[in-house]
Symmetry: C2
Subunit: 318 residues, 2 copies
């Protein structure tokens, strides 16, 4: 059921990517996988440095995740957060106590001058992650979202305002001077690179905005495959479809393909979108039709297998 | 049992001061009390701004304190801290979850640009403190301790190294450019100023090091009374006696009096130190003999009453 020795890099956002990665880990030994994670959603809250997307991957792949919500640690308690609230703090970003402990550790390491990539590696090792999880960059890079009400940081848009606003523009603050974290460019030279079914604009976009990343993917020596996060005009999760629309993109796998043109060889799309294959092919991307809804472990594994096979890996699904 | 309308200011360190203040609050209505607190012990740990002395006063006077330890919140849990430790963090400073919640609130307010005095006032209001607790300064002021091993910050000396080192010197980093927090200088013009039985060097010293504070106390329009933290050559709590010794002071109430010469009119000393009265008087300070060990609510109240009476307040102890 597992493919043997091969190197694989996955570009990942948060919940959708993490679930997809569960499937990937069922197909490929973790020791061969590098995940390049999004840090555009990172925030400093109550003094703590929080990396929501990295943590979601970490929690999901170590079995700690609260499956129901898709984020946070299962069974975590909000003692500290409720205390802060009771004292008058505007504690709008949910943080459980175990979560806070992780953020405390990371924040301490960062304050001592360690790069985020080293802190992330430490956390992965401590939790038994088993694969290499690397932030796209160690430098500050923040996704800023232009709304009718003005520009806000990503979490203000997403969590605080419940991603209810129409998105008029995106800006990756700090991107121009950010450098890829150690290993990122090398990871893009893997035989297979997969872009997880994450929001192409706000999850994968910040990764591609790090100077050198897009070019490394364009000049890839291996094969690259993306998995569409849009199925039948709707996002697997979150506001991707609306956001594609308000930013002038086609809220369909064709719109996703247009964003990834030149960056991937294949795009995995759901059976319901099979009629869009020609439009995708016209963008120079080979469409691969597979059931793209991840309902359970089996469907996650099947979707991962489809993507890996499109990348040229022979995956024997159990 | 309570004295009516009078304004009273208490300069306070941590545990000893907080227990003394419990006694004061049994004698004087809280609405008339201002406490000027030490911030030399403050630290930034895991990204959180912790003000141990202010918090000890706050927790003690709101009944939240862990009486046994003298600090922290009674019944608090260390979920976040243990998590941080399990992930490899060097979590040497004990923080309970409720504690962390308070630090999260404060850190958020400070990050938003609020002065520490405003954050402290908010916390006091939220917890029903009822008296005015003001940090000596809103500016960074950190007690640095010179050991044989080199200079360390206060909490490294006190908590991390268990105040086991001989103290060779003290420095209040930032003091020269610190300004008294709003209300501090005014509070020193109260009819009665009491220096709590705190370590004169590391608890009261940082308060006096804020430019303007010492002079305001020297030029006080009212009366000032100190309570000796040294009884029969030993500190009520902590390393005060050893520290006085290694820094060349007399580890006795006379040594305390020498440090407060010109700043107070009276010094409350324990009955066992009654023979030192003449030496104290020679320093221009009137000795006041009273039982100075705070064992329980009654003895705290009696010690507070002795200090307040020395300041000219008529206190009818129940």
């Amino acid at each position: 059921m597992r493919v043997a020795a091969t190197d694989l890099t996955v570009l990942a956002g948060g919940v959708g990517a993490a679930r997809f990665l569960q499937g990937v880990c069922d197909c490929v030994d973790r020791s061969r996988i590098t995940v390049v994670g999004n840090v555009g959603d990172d925030l400093d809250v109550h003094g703590l440095h929080v990396s929501p997307d990295l943590d979601t991957v970490l929690y999901t792949l170590t079995g700690e995740i609260d499956e129901e919500r898709g984020w946070g640690v299962r069974g975590d308690t909000p003692r500290a957060l409720e205390r802060a609230r009771s004292l008058g703090a505007d504690a709008w970003f949910w943080l459980g106590d175990l979560d806070i402990g992780l953020h405390m550790a990371r924040t301490e390491w960062l304050a001592a001058g360690e790069p985020l990539s080293v802190a992330t590696e430490r956390l992965g090792r401590a939790l038994g992650l088993g694969l290499r999880l690397v932030p796209a960059t160690d430098d500050p890079l923040r996704t800023m979202v232009e709304l009718d009400a003005g520009e806000v940081d990503f979490q203000t848009y997403y969590v605080r305002r419940g991603h209810a606003d129409a998105v008029r523009g995106l800006r990756f603050a700090g991107a121009e001077s950010a450098r890829p974290a150690p290993g990122v460019i090398e990871a893009l030279a893997a035989p297979v690179v997969v872009i997880a079914p994450s929001n192409p604009l706000i999850s994968i976009g910040p990764i591609l905005a790090v100077p050198g990343v897009r070019r490394a993917l364009e000049q890839r020596p291996g094969r690259a495959v993306a998995v569409s996060p849009i199925v039948a005009g709707e996002a697997l999760r979150g506001p991707a479809a609306d956001m594609l629309r308000t930013l002038g993109h086609d809220p369909s796998p064709v719109g996703v393909a247009a964003l990834y043109a030149g960056l991937v060889d294949s795009l995995v799309i759901d059976e319901r979108d099979a009629d869009l294959a020609a439009g995708i092919r016209r963008l120079g991307i080979e469409p691969v039709v597979a059931p793209a809804i991840m309902r359970d472990a089996a469907s996650r594994r099947a979707l991962a297998a489809a993507a890996l096979e499109a990348g040229g890996l022979a995956v024997a699904v159990a």
